[in-house]
Symmetry: C2
Subunit: 629 residues, 2 copies
């Protein structure tokens, strides 16, 4: 039997398994999976990969951007005896029997690729459409930084490339001459109709306008697919797209009529479908061995990001002499220092590197700095691919513009990646620019995410030291940096920790809890309360917004008769979190000061604080009022 | 003096004023503004608009996508004696003197366009780059729906069109043959360097690949600009882009050297710059009158969205007979009913209309339904433009994918628009699909936004009636719809209200507060607590998550010795809000149950509830534990 014949037979098995497993799950997308059977069959043969050791760092990688088609990939994995498991030691071979557990609570085979469950074949979670190519771009950059020669493939659905992130990702791949191979599954149908009617798009013209090389094949012709994969692999210094024309529901009549998207078959229909597929079989298939990488390693790149962390305390921190500095600038210095001792640190910026001060890193380590331009969705997704390559990406923009990448950020978190986002110009201090430039939802949004660390810098020492915390902490993290020069609150060697806080002063009247810039405003209010009213308050710098140091905060409040006043320059996030901790314990009274309406422009910071009800006087009045109640 | 001469002279005035006002503000982007002086000069002459009555609904409109260049537009407005004010009655002419108040707290001239402050020239807030063309698309669709013939212009910066939203917006304009005129300010420099080096992009090729007509001009040649605007205005049934090659910092040497982006001049530099500009003047300028629309009206379209609301109680609600139905389906019915009585309702969907049930509306009112395909950023931005046309857009997708449009959503809110977003498939009930399809951050995120209304449907009656509330409420609103069929909790004529809640049962043990699907789980827990433990709890359906009915909730808790237990199937949002209200008053104890880690796939809803610690048994145990403490 020729290789082509064997691959056709395999495709039938993948089809049969896709139909069976989605039926067993009572959910899933068999019609989408069937459109990919020959593509996956050819790709799994052409890829150099290592089913017995999916952690092999030298294996070619596949990002399945159209995550809902994952059954066909699971089927191919089972047919090749792919190992699954959370670690090499706990690995076992995926069986065809396992496939029937698709989407079950006890199964690692989620409805969409989910690497944290123990399917290390996948580097990143996908399923929120439009994101895969950015991940793949990041993996190619990861190869470049780490000197790996593995190939990165990405399979995308035709409807999802309407997502603007694809535009960003295509342009990015072109700029950086990334040798990524995108296989576009042109089956012509989206969930709700014909793709070209839903939104016309000329794939070839658009790709060529972005200087991609474009090949086109019949996506059910294995010979054409193999030839195209060979040609694509020969291309150097350019991304390549293979437009694969396919049939949604290929081989199964019931899955072709009326575009039954995301509809599994009934048991009776399954038998009919399997019968149809089997009539297409011409021979029993022998087992084809995959092509393997030249060498083997047993570590998953994702697990390799453990980092040397510089001893920042020993560094010359000239800024400490100046008495004040913008946290974003101190962050820029620290990032460069980190880059010196840790070659796994990579930095991405969205055309504001001279504002975020990532220019310092860029100039020192140009090969580890990636300008993403004004295209945050792709930037955050590329960060995911870099993190999945065992690198530690710091993703930078104004906090306000990171909102453009929240969907991608959530997927990075779900992928369990060690990744950092850094928002500068946060809060209301970019006052004269007005609300379109102010990050205000970032605090409640980021604090709501599971397992994340959120740190807010109240001075340059924190801005500097938080880079060290970010390097030492394995997981996703959001750092919040301020634009203005701010007086130093801390000595250069002060130690901070994830989950920590600092009590700046202790008193018995009210416990003020704040973070970032507002700590300075609260501090001034505290001084005036003491001087003018004889009231001594406690003041907590809750720099670790998540996890929040509730013990320290409530401990302070225990000495202020349970009175807590939170102050923040963003939509309420700290306040509700402190309230939650206090209300869970009982016996406290918490008042929350936060931005509660849209700001506007103001030339002076004190004006915008007044406008938002967050001035020294406002805090003073509110604290006093709490004592009267 | 010829018209061209007069326009050149005007451009110099705009340049001088741009330099002066940014210097007065000590902030802003004079170099960007200067690159636009001739474009704005020509456009303000070619537009048919009405400076004495900016509310005139028949005036051509300009969306300034590169919002940071706004000083040049303010300058042109002042030169034309444009009226500003929050209403026609409060209007007064903008003066050149006013320009010097740029970015001041007391000034309506924010650092970026901000229509809510009383500058009705602008329809939408801009400044978060990349969003303007979507707004403009929405305005053109608004023309179409409302039968207006005004022209819609959009000025974009060259760096910002790297934002993937531009890709989405360009494709959308092409599909719908929108006669939008995009003027691309190709000054070649972004904030941190040369645009083509930061991220290469072939504007002409990319636009043509998306079937746009493309013109190219010297952006400082008024004759070429006028000719291009004339040609663009003649094009029918297609979007047109005018590539205008410009010089950043045109006319002022100090603003051309080294790309001083966002840097105002010092007073000494201002005088030098003004001197340079004045040497370019050849004559004193006469005042050119703008071309006016044929007719005049005195209402701003934005203010016209007052809506007839159907008497839903009088409608035949067949679903009420069935005992259960998915809220999303009832929503689909209601939306169609609303469409029948209110011609201002328009609906947008991102290729999931058969899941969100907007198909009902689409089939009934195809001319008011806009398929946006898988491109949520543009969809949310188009919604902004439609709302600014006095229409009432309902923006639809899975709640999870609306995250892709959060940046645009925030700008819609800042614009003060009457706009609705509707997320379906929310929470953890899309269980077999897994976390990539679950909207979990939507509740804390949306609840954090100022002035928004957030409603979560706990049954089909609510899913139906909330459409009525959305129609009656002027402002931004987020509706949360569930996928599964859910038993009815309410009779078909039950009335709900923004800021309301429903007490489903009263007891003395614990007050359970929940929303959406979890109300059913909590209800079962309540029944079992009573039956098995003899404990009677209060159960509140807090369907209005924002504003939250804290009086009712705390009132119930007053009768359960202050014990409150919140239950929600999303990252914590209701819990912290209840905690905040309780802790502000004092004397309560609140425990929060929410999704606190990433879910995975599960075939049965009860499995995923257990996995997330939100099962009936979990609630039961937690409520009991509260009584022991």
């Amino acid at each position: 039997m020729s290789i082509e014949q064997a691959l056709y037979e395999r495709a039938l098995i993948y089809g049969e398994d896709s139909v069976r497993m989605t039926a067993a799950a009572g959910a899933g997308h068999p019609s989408s999976a069937l459109s990919l059977v020959h593509i996956v069959s050819a790709l799994f043969y052409r890829m150099r990969h290592d089913p017995e050791n999916p952690w092999n760092t030298l294996s070619d990688r596949l990002v399945l951007s159209e995550g809902h088609s994952v059954p066909v990939v699971y089927a191919a994995m089972a047919e090749m005896g792919y190992k699954i498991g959370k670690s090499p030691r706990a690995a076992r071979a995926l069986t065809r029997e396992d496939l029937l557990s698709l989407r079950d609570l006890a199964s690692p085979l989620d409805g969409h690729p989910n690497p944290v469950l123990g399917v290390p074949f996948f580097d990143t979670a996908t399923g929120s459409l439009g994101q895969g190519l950015s991940n793949a771009n990041g993996l190619v950059l990861g190869n470049r930084v780490r000197g790996l020669r593995r190939k990165i493939y990405c399979i995308a659905g035709d409807s999802e490339v309407r997502e603007g992130q694809y535009d960003e990702a295509m342009r990015f791949a072109s700029k950086y001459r990334l040798e990524v191979i995108l296989i576009l599954n042109v089956n012509g149908y989206g969930q709700s109709g014909a793709t070209k009617e839903l939104m016309p798009m000329d794939y070839r013209a658009e790709l060529q306008a972005r200087r991609w090389q474009v090949l086109e094949v019949d996506g059910h012709d294995v010979s054409q697919l193999l030839a195209a994969l060979d040609r694509a692999n020969e291309v150097q210094g350019s991304p390549v797209a293979i437009l694969a024309n396919t049939v949604k529901g290929w081989g199964v009549g019931a899955l072709q009529k009326g575009n039954p998207h995301g509809k599994p078959l009934s048991p009776a229909e399954v038998e009919k479908a399997v019968g149809e597929l089997r009539t297409l079989s011409r021979s029993s298939t022998g087992r084809l061995r995959p092509q393997k990488p030249d060498e083997r390693t047993t570590r998953w790149l994702r697990d390799e990001s453990g980092l040397p962390v510089p001893n920042f305390a020993a560094l010359d921190k000239d800024f400490a002499q100046k008495g004040k500095m913008a946290p974003r600038k101190a962050y820029g210095y620290a990032l460069r220092e980190l880059g010196k001792v840790n070659e796994k640190v990579v930095v991405l910026d969205a055309e504001v590197s001279n504002s975020t001060f990532t220019v310092y890193f860029r100039d020192a380590f140009p090969e580890r700095f990636f300008e993403c331009a004004i295209a945050e969705q792709n930037m955050v997704g590329v960060g995911g691919g870099l993190a999945a390559s065992g690198l530690v990406p710091f993703i930078n923009s104004f906090g306000k513009f990171l909102v453009m990448g929240y969907a991608q950020w959530e997927m990075n978190g779900q992928s369990g990646l060690n990744i950092k986002a850094v928002g500068s110009h946060v809060g209301i201090t970019p006052c004269s620019d007005g609300p379109s430039q102010m990050a205000l939802s970032d605090v409640p949004y980021m604090m709501s995410l599971p397992g994340i660390v959120v740190l807010s810098a109240s001075d340059a020492v924190q801005g500097y030291q938080f880079v060290s915390l970010a390097a030492a902490h394995e997981g996703w993290m959001y750092l919040r940096n301020y634009r203005p020069d701010m007086p130093l609150l801390y000595g250069p060697d002060t130690k901070f920790r994830v989950g920590g806080s600092n009590v700046l002063q202790r008193g018995d009247a009210v416990t003020l809890v704040s973070h970032g810039y507002m700590v300075h405003v609260a501090k001034e209010a505290a001084a005036r309360l003491e001087k003018e009213k004889g009231l001594k308050v406690s003041l907590v710098d809750a720099y670790s917004l998540k996890p929040l140091d509730t013990e320290t905060i409530l401990g302070c409040a225990d000495r202020t008769e349970g009175r807590l006043l939170t102050v923040e320059d963003n939509y309420a996030g700290l306040g509700p979190a402190v309230s939650r901790a206090a209300a869970a314990r009982g016996g406290y009274r918490v008042e929350v000061m936060a931005v509660e309406s849209f700001p506007k422009s103001a030339r002076r910071e004190k004006d915008i604080f007044s406008y938002c009800g967050l001035s020294v006087e406002d805090i003073l009045a509110r604290a006093q009022a709490m004592l009267v109640k």
